[in-house]
Symmetry: T
């Protein structure tokens, strides 16, 4: 199966910044361990700080991949355009968040994309990504 993880703005700094919220592991390290653990599947990783590039990526893979795991970061709470992109493609998209967004500022309690995603997984640290994967693999 072809599975794409997409990370939004500032998530390239994972493990470098705000360790008290996001922990000290870099996403690259985490991604490599995830690939190893699920090596029977094709896992890909993409990150961008630019809203429109995330849309470009969603469109590029959204008709051929089996699953998209999306952590849109701050764009989760401001981007109707990404929400539209999710509606426009055929691959299922799962929304994940590392932190429990409901413990943070009020603006992070509202997601533009939840309604367009298959489901949401929030608050399990980096494990949120693996749970999104498992939501697809378990029966």
């Amino acid at each position: 199966m072809k599975i794409q993880i997409i990370n939004g703005p500032n998530l390239n700094l994972l493990g470098l910044r705000q360790l008290e919220i996001y922990g000290s592991q870099t996403f690259d390290n985490y991604f490599i361990s995830l690939q190893r653990k699920y090596k029977e599947h094709d896992l890909f990783y993409y990150q961008s700080n630019i809203e429109g590039e995330i849309i470009n990526k969603l469109q590029a893979i959204g008709f051929t991949f089996d699953l998209i795991i999306l952590n849109a970061g701050a764009y989760t709470h401001t981007s109707l355009a990404i929400a539209d992109a999710i509606s426009s493609i055929q691959s299922p998209v799962i929304e994940v968040h590392i932190s429990n967004v409901f413990r943070r500022e009020k603006i992070r309690h509202k997601s533009f994309i939840s309604a367009n995603c298959r489901g949401t997984i929030s608050g399990f640290g980096l494990k949120s990504y693996e749970l999104a994967l498992l939501s697809f693999l378990i029966n």
Copy 2:
């Protein structure tokens, strides 16, 4: 490990009502299959339509169980008292929803309990419960 699943109001009708939203499997059947699949753990199940009884249950097990998986149903969106109960106990609580609550009426977009739970899993059908379990078991 001791793990308790708690279901809130109307979830006893699962598989009987609103099949287009919740599917046709009864929770009892699902729970039995879950017990079998994870038989190395002690899984328990409780359901009540009464807000205060859910609080009673949370208090009764909340200092000895390893994990509580809570689908508070409609009380998710109206019960500050259940949210307080979650804060009052020591066992970690994970919030689950069968349907994608963000596709439904606006009142279901707001959860009183998310901020007090470890994490939230929403929209994966009955699989949401298993993912909650896995969030605890995977490393």
Copy 3:
């Protein structure tokens, strides 16, 4: 025909309290007169102050009764769980209120259950119950 009247919180005090709003007749007396007048039908009466018990009752009778007449009292304005229960069952439910709720505090102008009920009858004193019954009997 089997018809169930369900009264919510504090309606057991009818005829005893706040006579200027609700009048001085007890509901028991009223119910007996109603049974006599419509003796060709099976009328039942249930009252509870507990939200979840009202849900229990709705579930217990909601697949076999011909009509449910529900005055949910204050829960009308706060209970999404009762609204869900109405959606979950098959018997038609009619919402009634003794007083004209729109003349009272603002919170009583909003009903969680109206959209899920067949219709609403409000402001006719105890006659509201009989009108609900007649809505079913007249052609």
Copy 4:
């Protein structure tokens, strides 16, 4: 007894338009059947699309009729002037709606006139008018 039914804007198209909401019977036919069924009473019918003409009618009959049954249509939700007219007259006014307004758009959940009417009956199709009549006739 002298009883006036007043219908507001677009209700002259009943039975012709939006049949899925309002059904296929014209109001004229319904009114004739109602007159026959309650022939011991004087029933009158008036319809206007003009807000101020409804006020004129309310004032004209509002000091001599025994009952006014008012379906103000869309003016229910926008007309403070009709609400004032109801307060200004002596005849009791009952608010009726054919459809369950609480299932429709949000603006239809708020009524300017409910607080000034004796009671409200909503959601019973054309039967709502007869129930309003019965609210006056039954003891």
Copy 5:
């Protein structure tokens, strides 16, 4: 000078209805006394319950009269169309209210027309009309 008084909906019932708010004098009597007191001026009086007729009147006289005294009644609080009519004409318009609208329901605290009128006089009973007249006559 040519001066027009325009009264909006339900003000034709002055002296007949809601005496505790508006007093017991009919407007016709008051108007005659006003004409006598200011007989050096041409005073005219018009009342309508129909929003659009008030607009028609404003347009008909609004380019030739010296002063228009407008009590738009309930339309004060709901009619953008009357507010537009006031902006469209050349004669100065003064907004008057018999009762102190700020002591009544919240919806009456907001006026659509105040900003388009020269000034507002509210709460002096029928004297409000004479004060509007005097605002024009005194130096």
Copy 6:
């Protein structure tokens, strides 16, 4: 083809009032030039300041005309009854505005009728009417 233009309140003053917003051409002159330019079609023009008369007109022609071009003026922003009339009829209705309503006061940013119309054309001066016509004629 039979095409009806309907203008709402105060639009009879076009070319006479508020020239800085609406320009100096009267609508009658404009309409004549429009008739000449599109003389292969039957163009009709109606204006009223009365909300209910606009509804009457919509109902009268709304089952036989090919197109209705509606500038409801201020009623655009306050009339649910006109919106209902548009839903009740079969002829397509196009909403037009002479000025760019989004540059004016906030209340004019919200339209009751847009959702019920086929489309909206706003801000092109009197050309807005012709564009509405063209929306029907071009392929």
Copy 7:
């Protein structure tokens, strides 16, 4: 009769500042002309920029004066304490404004004191004070 005019903050700069809003006459000059015109009455004038001093003044004269004419300036829109003072005293208070407050910023559309005053006169320039006086003198 004893009549007190009270002016609130910044009104001591009348005739000196913001002439386009308030005109070029100083209040002292205006007050002298008013005293002359109504010399059969005792007119007094007080101004303060301090909210509490206005309250002190209202309390000091509020049990013996026949009339208080109050232009509370910006405190109109922020002072519950002045509103309370008006309720606490026995002399009637009339609210006046020089400019048409409804043409200015939104915060000036809401008055804390209107409901506690006998009436409101707004938008007539300095004449507003004289009209307040006349509201008391005319029959």
Copy 8:
């Protein structure tokens, strides 16, 4: 005198949970010391996590007890039904809170029951209960 203390949801965990907010004393210990200190009065204690049981208790004692001291916990902020129960009974009810609710989340700043209680005492730790008692005993 007969005095009833009623505690709402989660207050049975006092002294066990969230010690930084509520302190480390159990309510049972506190209650015993209170009984001793005021042994000339009959003090009773009741706690429930179930909204409707609190209503049942209020109704059961609300016509014979001299004073009810109610800490409704989270139900303070969500229960219109308890507020109604307080209005329905005759015994005076005093609302108490251990913590200063105004320092906590916004939802706790609004109380459904304050308006129906005689008075409110908030923020004095367990002393709040004794102050409620003293409010009744001191002259």
Copy 9:
């Protein structure tokens, strides 16, 4: 112990105005009786209608007194500056109200100062002051 009572605007009229809300006892009389009853403590009393003078007083005594009992009157609901003063000083401040503010207008339901005070006592008439005192004296 040194204890200061501070009363805000219009409370100097206690016993003179609005007797139905505040009762007929003057505060001076009440204060004298309080001093007598608690003569082992140094009780002081200060009242001002001026917001800034209350701040001055709080600052003057706020580093040396043992307790401040503050009824800020209407400033409770509008003064962030007094709230800041309470935060700036060291003496504990208790907020008291004579009437049950939650039964009055909506603006009085919100207090700027509650979160900065140790606790709040509201609705016990003049006894509220003594209860504040007792909150400090009882163990």
Copy 10:
């Protein structure tokens, strides 16, 4: 004349996605037919999913082109920066939408750019672009 069409995010998928909303024609095909029909003018087409690139384009052509037709897609409802760009340039900009945005979710009812555009055309399918063009060409 030089005319630029600019399409915003996800509009590159036109004819591929959500056919029930946008129809099955690709924009490229439509654009070619438009160029042919108006071949006496220079028509250009640009699409980007990136907000800032749309701004770049507007700036690049906004001082030399005769007309810009802009469908900003989802950025219509979230981008103040595009609105600023429109204000910053000299070429007239016309806002178009394919679907009737007022029939869709509430967030799409508000446009950041309407006030800065010359006019708005919404709901005519791909014809909306041609109407924008015609708004410029017809006299």
Copy 11:
């Protein structure tokens, strides 16, 4: 040049209170060092806790001073009267804040006076005053 610094309520406690927010330097010391550093200019300092006295000061110097640096403290967020005073005078006023007000409670995010001041400087500790001065001195 003549330059006046005005500090509002509680700022006299600078260096004494809430050191974690405002630092430990008293304003008097800071002001002396500022005078020394800019001794070619006439610097004056004024502080008051009384809203109206700040207005008095602004009026007294506002027609002759070259610059006014105003830290209105809590009145920034509640005083329309001070905002009016700034509009009424001729000297330019610069708004300064010691702390970053946008990190504090929501009510401090809104300033009544910003729109009337030349500019705002917030968050630089006591340096904010010097920066305001420099905004005037640098070219």
Copy 12:
């Protein structure tokens, strides 16, 4: 010291557009003069219309530069992602605005980034940048 100025969308048009708001100097000219005046420091300048490129820049320099001066233009009011980037880096960021944003439309009164910046300087024209620099250089 290394100091970076970052300008957001449309600020590349400074001196070319909307001269009445922003003045006629280009930013390039201003920047050169600033470099000359502060030649002992390393000043850099970057501008982008793309939200994500601003984030990229902040991340690239945000761990090594001594100061970042950010005018995020319209993104100030819509970008949570830039706010997150500011939180993620170590260099201090100062928010500047050329115009007084509080005199412009309401949406510009709210800044997403203020709370994450060290301080804010708004309304001093191009001088705002130099003041930001000075906030760092003066002692």
